[in-house]
């Protein structure tokens, strides 16, 4: 069975390119697939901005959690009447899509308040283009003191109650544990795909692996698990058939920032012959690591997952300091260098940069920073700079 309705599924194992093609076509325009799935399953679709909303909870309420990732950069300027142009393009894109009617398949939206832009846009959005169900998920921004956990548990309880009201369905502990298992399974599959990508970047390049992760945010996990599983099987098979010739060793890089956007950036890395071996992106490694415990109190499990996730700029956490994380990641993966991908006007990232750069510098790890915008198409200069950086790393290799 396939939700995407690709013909011939279930017969011979489709090759990886075909599955990737399906995922990419959903990414370029998710609306038809989402509408069909929602109609088939008779569920409400609840959007969330990436990636600190406990999707498991939304899922356990019987709704379909849809990550409003940046996929239609063309709508950015639709937000201009309501939001100054110096808001980050991720939010301008999401809000712009809603204003253009491109998110009409959503019945609800949850906005995690992780920065000034999210907490502000939430109330503007609610005012000018509300969904039936609209909630801010009020995350704690300090994560390392006991108060954070107490509060987060309370806040999840509040969100649970609001979701139950909206979907008219009680969330039982068993439901939530089921959802946690489903999400853990997806993360495990994505991690295996990521590992495969690191091993065989010729078969699963940078663009492809990040597209797979991104698509997991917009497809129901049930469906995505099937696709990811099929993809993994196809890839393993293709890898087995490959002649074990001498593949060119690639330059290994780590990405640091919020998102790997625009996707063309990843194409540039592919073309330059670099392989991403890790990242701290919200729609990358940070999304696919950190499982929630499958037994015990599921709310505690979700809270602990949130409190111990990969460090991100929006959260203060001395137990999980970002410079330490980045350094460790470079050493673990044997990366040759780090590329900071910063969204213009995202101040949390920008504040962290000088210290991160200094930390890497002191450890003798080369780094490059590029500033990008969701939906931007003019990457000429960035292409040149990345090309030069990769060449430099290659020469030093």
């Amino acid at each position: 069975m396939t939700v995407l309705g690709s013909p011939g599924a279930g017969k011979a194992m489709p090759n990886s390119k075909k599955i990737l093609g399906e995922l990419q076509s959903v990414l370029s325009d998710p609306a038809p697939a989402v509408k069909r799935i929602a109609a088939e399953k008779i569920v409400r679709v609840v959007g969330h901005l990436p990636t600190d909303v406990p999707e498991e909870l939304v899922h356990a309420a019987g709704a379909y959690p849809f990550g409003v990732v940046a996929y239609d950069g063309g709508q950015i300027n639709r937000a201009n009447a309501h939001l100054q142009m110096w808001a980050c393009s991720l939010i301008r894109c999401a809000f712009g899509m809603a204003l253009a009617g491109k998110l009409d398949f959503l019945q609800g939206l949850i906005v995690p308040t992780i920065c000034d832009t999210t907490r502000t846009v939430y109330t503007i959005w609610k005012k000018v283009r509300p969904f039936n169900f609209m909630e801010a998920f009020l995350l704690p921004r300090q994560l390392d003191r006991p108060s954070a956990k107490n509060y987060l548990l309370g806040e999840m309880g509040r969100l649970k109650a609001r979701l139950e009201q909206f979907t008219d369905r009680k969330i039982t502990a068993a439901d939530l544990q089921n959802s946690i298992r489903l999400y853990n399974r997806n993360r495990a599959l994505l991690r295996r795909l990521y590992d495969f990508h690191v091993r065989c970047p010729d078969l699963l390049g940078n663009r492809a692996v990040y597209d797979v992760i991104k698509s997991s945010l917009i497809l129901p996990k049930e469906e995505h698990n099937l696709l990811a599983d099929r993809l993994l099987g196809a890839l393993e098979q293709e890898a087995g058939k490959q002649k074990s010739g001498k593949a060119k060793t690639r330059v290994r890089v780590i990405l640091s920032g919020k998102l790997g956007e625009p996707p063309a950036l990843l194409d540039i890395l592919d073309e330059a012959g670099a392989v991403c071996v890790g990242d701290d992106l919200c729609t990358g490694y940070r999304y696919i690591t950190g499982d929630a415990a499958e037994n015990g109190d599921p709310y505690v499990a979700l809270a602990e997952r949130q409190l111990t996730r990969v460090a991100a700029a929006c959260f203060t956490n001395k137990k999980q300091d970002r410079p330490d994380f980045l350094l460790r990641k470079v050493r673990e993966t044997g990366a040759n260098g780090v590329i900071f991908v910063h969204l213009k006007f995202c101040e949390p990232e920008n504040y962290d940069y000088p210290f991160l750069e200094e930390t890497l510098n002191a450890a003798g790890i080369p780094s490059l920073r590029v500033e990008t915008e969701v939906g931007s198409e003019s990457l000429g200069q960035i292409r040149t700079r990345i090309g030069a950086f990769i060449e430099m790393l290659d020469a030093a290799n």
Binding site: A81, H82, L83, Q84, W86, A87, T113, C115, D116, T117, R119, T120, V121, Y122, T123, I124, K126, K127, V128, A136, L138, L139, P140, R141, Q142, R145, P146, S147, A148, N150, Y151, G154, E155, R158, A313, C314, T316, K318, P323, K344, F345, E347, P348, N350, Y351, D352, Y353, P354, F355, E357, R369, E371
Partner: protein, 399 residues
């Protein structure tokens, strides 16, 4: 221009005294604690630590028109020119070789509260890294409409954690009786400050927003000390004399205006003159009203939690619109100016929709203008002058 205040000299003295205390704190063995403007500083005072306000440093640098210079040092380190101007001044000064407004005081501890913004959370976190000192964040979740027990409890618990932290750091037990004394002093200073601000509702008024921007330093920094109370007693006396002698802030006051939030510091005088030329008094702003707290001494921590989480900047759209309208009504203004401040996303995003709604509900003319509170690179004088001339024309027509 308006008659200068005789208390202006006193203000300079008490602020010089405050800065001198900061400079000597280290010698006297008093830890210097960085704090943010909306922060339970009463705890810091009660613990006998010296609170220092990097935002004030930023405002001072901005008023002296050296933002661009300090920012250049921050930008050279990789901070973008899009960040909050105060942060760029503070971070820039740490890296700069020259210190045009004196060196920013190095912290022993860095405390930050994010009620106002995430910029303070991040700027202070970086400062903690740069100066290699402990960093403590008081986290204020967003409050859309009314606050909740959950949020209050969370904030109280964090203040308790902070008190524990201070006790461990200083090796002294925290004195709750002393806290009550400090809160009582803060209440008194806030009450006086509020009464001073309210004189702007008189016609003609002896005092307005631009005066308040000048006289607000003690309510921010010395709230909780006898010095602030003494200062505002004197200032209030002076205002009473002025009311009697009919000395008004703007000669021939014809209009009262609501100004949303911060001034453009390097253009304070420019704006003051522009308004005065048009017979308009900027009477009120939610900014200068941010320090009109009233603490309940029966429940000090809960009351501080409410005060410091429920500030307008941490509230939802409707709440903020209503607050602005209430202030406009109370001060009987004729028009309003909303400042879209590039430095400050949490106060600026949403202003375009707010302008429409406020005009619809009040019938008052209003404008939104774009600039930056600190950085003149974002100040396009001709455009702004033109925008304001249309605004003043509208006011004249209605008069």
């Amino acid at each position: 221009m308006a008659t200068p205040f005789r208390n202006a000299g006193r203000l300079k003295e008490i602020m010089a005294d405050y800065y001198a205390q900061g400079a000597q704190a280290k010698e006297r063995g008093v830890p210097v604690v960085w704090v943010t403007a909306v922060f339970p500083v009463e705890i810091v005072y009660a613990a006998g630590l010296f609170p220092y306000y990097p935002e004030n440093f930023g405002a001072l640098a901005a008023a002296r028109k050296v933002t661009e210079k300090l920012s250049a040092a921050a930008e050279a380190r990789g901070y973008y020119a899009d960040l909050c101007g105060y942060a760029r001044c503070g971070l820039g000064d740490a890296y700069a070789k020259e210190h045009p407004v004196g060196e920013i005081v190095r912290p022993d501890l860095v405390f930050s509260c994010n009620t106002q913004c995430g910029s303070l959370q991040k700027w202070f976190e970086e400062a903690g890294r740069f100066y290699r000192v402990p960093y403590f964040l008081l986290d204020a979740p967003f409050i859309e409409g009314a606050s909740t027990t959950l949020i209050k409890r969370y904030f109280v618990e964090q203040m308790e954690e902070m008190i524990d932290f201070i006790e461990v750091y200083t090796g002294r037990q925290f004195d709750f009786d002393r806290l009550l004394e400090v809160l009582a002093l803060a209440n008194e200073a806030c009450r006086l400050w509020n009464e001073i601000l309210e004189t702007a509702a008189l016609t003609p008024a002896p005092f307005g927003f631009f005066d308040a921007c000048f006289h607000m330093a003690p309510i921010v920094t010395l709230r909780g000390t006898p010095a602030a109370v003494a200062y505002y007693r004197e200032l209030k006396k002076e205002l009473e004399e002025r009311i009697e002698k009919k000395i008004s802030a703007v000669p021939n006051e014809r209009f009262k205006i609501y100004w949303d939030h911060l001034p453009v510091w390097p253009r304070l005088r420019w704006f003051a003159e522009l308004f005065a030329e048009n017979g308009a008094l900027v009477a009120v702003s939610q900014y200068t009203h941010s320090w009109t707290h009233r603490f309940d001494l029966e429940r000090p921590l809960e009351s501080m939690a409410e005060t410091y989480t429920e500030q307008f900047v941490n509230r939802g759209f409707d709440y903020r619109v209503q607050l602005k309208i209430d202030m406009m009504k109370k001060y009987k203004v004729d028009g309003f100016v909303l400042f879209s401040n590039r430095s400050c996303k949490p106060t600026s995003f949403g202003l375009y929709d707010k302008q429409k709604i406020i005009s619809e509900r009040t019938g008052l003319p209003g404008i939104v203008f774009e600039a930056d509170m600190a950085d003149q690179r974002y100040f396009t004088e001709e455009q702004i002058r033109w925008k304001f001339s249309i605004f003043f024309e509208q006011l004249q027509k209605r008069a």
